[in-house]
Amino acid sequence: MNTDLFLQAARAVFSGLWLTLVVTLAAYVIGQVFALPLALARTSGRRWLNAPALTFTFVMRGSPLLVQLFIIYYGLGQIEAVRSSLIWPLLRSPLGCAILAVGLNSAAYTAELVAGAILHVPKGQWEAAKALGIRAPVTLARIILPQAYRAILPALGNEMILVMKGSTLASTVTVMEMTGAARVFVARTYAPFEAFAVAGLIYLLLGAMFGFGFRRVERCVAIPGK
């Protein structure tokens, strides 16, 4: 291994860092935004709410992310109604599809996490709030959800690392994030170790940074003295 090749590899991989970050962060936000209503539907006693949410999480967790990405990127464009709809500009761009696929996949996993946490909050919390005359939506927003989210913060940090790993699949639909950029470099120079080592190192660093950030948040929102 020579240093010159290493520098070239690093330059190539770094060109994909930006896209890795964009896909990871955008998909994570989408995942979190969709996860909450899904989790509420999953914990609701009403069948017409629970059944569709359960179907969605079952389908998304039961099939590979790659298939979901290909259905969204290659498959949906086949339907005329989709091509004339408002979201077509998003579905036409590979970056939009990658973010949407990774995001919806993450939403399914996060929804199960959040639903589990909501059910885990002691029933007495609901009863106490009701006894104090607090309405159900307010109870949910101000009493139940803060406790549920605090309990699953470490898992939410882990989910961000999983989303980062999922973002590598974007390279299969021409979004040249780090792994894709590294692969292109390898195909051109036939030196696999340099590029993949640099990419791997950056992924490890990013993962450590996400972990550090979430531990900071955990400490900020922890109950003092507990």
């Binding site: 967790r61 039961g62 099939s63 590979p64 790659l66 979901q68 790993k165 590598t168 299969t172 993949f196």
Partner: protein, 225 residues
């Protein structure tokens, strides 16, 4: 759309068989790695403990696709240098090795947790009754360990199954690759990818039923009354 899918369906089922073979092979190899790694990380010398922990930490932090690429492209270069002539790593080999190396790391954690959960008294009692270390492990510790590891093992099987789709990117003709080829040939991507997703979901659903059945069978004391 359905006509095209029906035409290629035998090919897809053949791909599904390859998917199952890759996943099962990877689970088996991963388990072998973990069967050595888990006790080593608990009872081995300090150096070995650090090595196993390093392996687990490294793999858990790296994207699966990167590991597959590294082994597929890196393997070819390394083996070519080693043997002095061009050796190509096949998609199947690279896929099984990469998926096993990845699964092995997670399985080490699962087995380690299960091993710790078996009370030390079980080991002491078995030894006090005159069982040699190997039979004591095989007949007393291992069965209790497997019950505790089963939920984690079942989960990992589903993860390997879904990760195996990534091996299609390095050219292995499993379910995903077959769907890709058929989608390209017929210009009907939606039908083929939906069919592939349905097959994956079917295998996942059947696996889930089997796993919960096995859990109920192996741990009668935990059955809900």
């Amino acid at each position: 759309m359905f006509g095209a899918v029906a035409l290629y369906f035998p090919q897809m089922l053949f791909g599904l068989a390859v998917t199952l073979a890759v996943a099962a092979g990877s689970l088996l190899l991963g388990l072998i790695i973990a069967m050595v790694g888990a006790p080593a990380s608990l009872y081995g010398p300090k150096v070995v403990q650090h090595l196993v922990d390093g392996y687990v930490g490294l793999i858990r932090g790296l994207p699966e696709l990167l590991v597959i690429f590294l082994i597929f492209y890196g393997g070819t270069v390394a083996l070519t240098k080693l043997f002095g002539h061009y050796v190509e790593v096949s998609g199947f080999m690279a896929g099984v090795v990469a998926l096993s190396v990845v699964a092995g790391a997670y399985l080490v954690e699962i087995l380690r947790g299960a091993l710790v959960a078996v009370p030390v008294g079980q080991w002491e009692a078995a030894r006090a009754l005159g069982l040699r270390p190997l039979p004591a492990f095989r007949r007393v510790i291992l069965p209790q360990m497997i019950i505790r590891a089963l939920p984690g093992l079942g989960n990992q099987w589903l993860v390997i199954l879904k990760d195996s789709a990534l091996v299609s990117i390095v050219g292995l003709e499993e379910l995903m690759r077959k769907s890709l080829i058929a989608a390209g040939a017929t210009h009907q991507p939606l039908g083929f990818y939906l069919a592939a997703a349905a097959l994956y979901i079917g295998v996942t659903a059947v696996s889930t039923v089997f796993i919960s059945h096995a859990e109920a069978r192996l741990a009668p004391q935990r059955r809900e009354r």
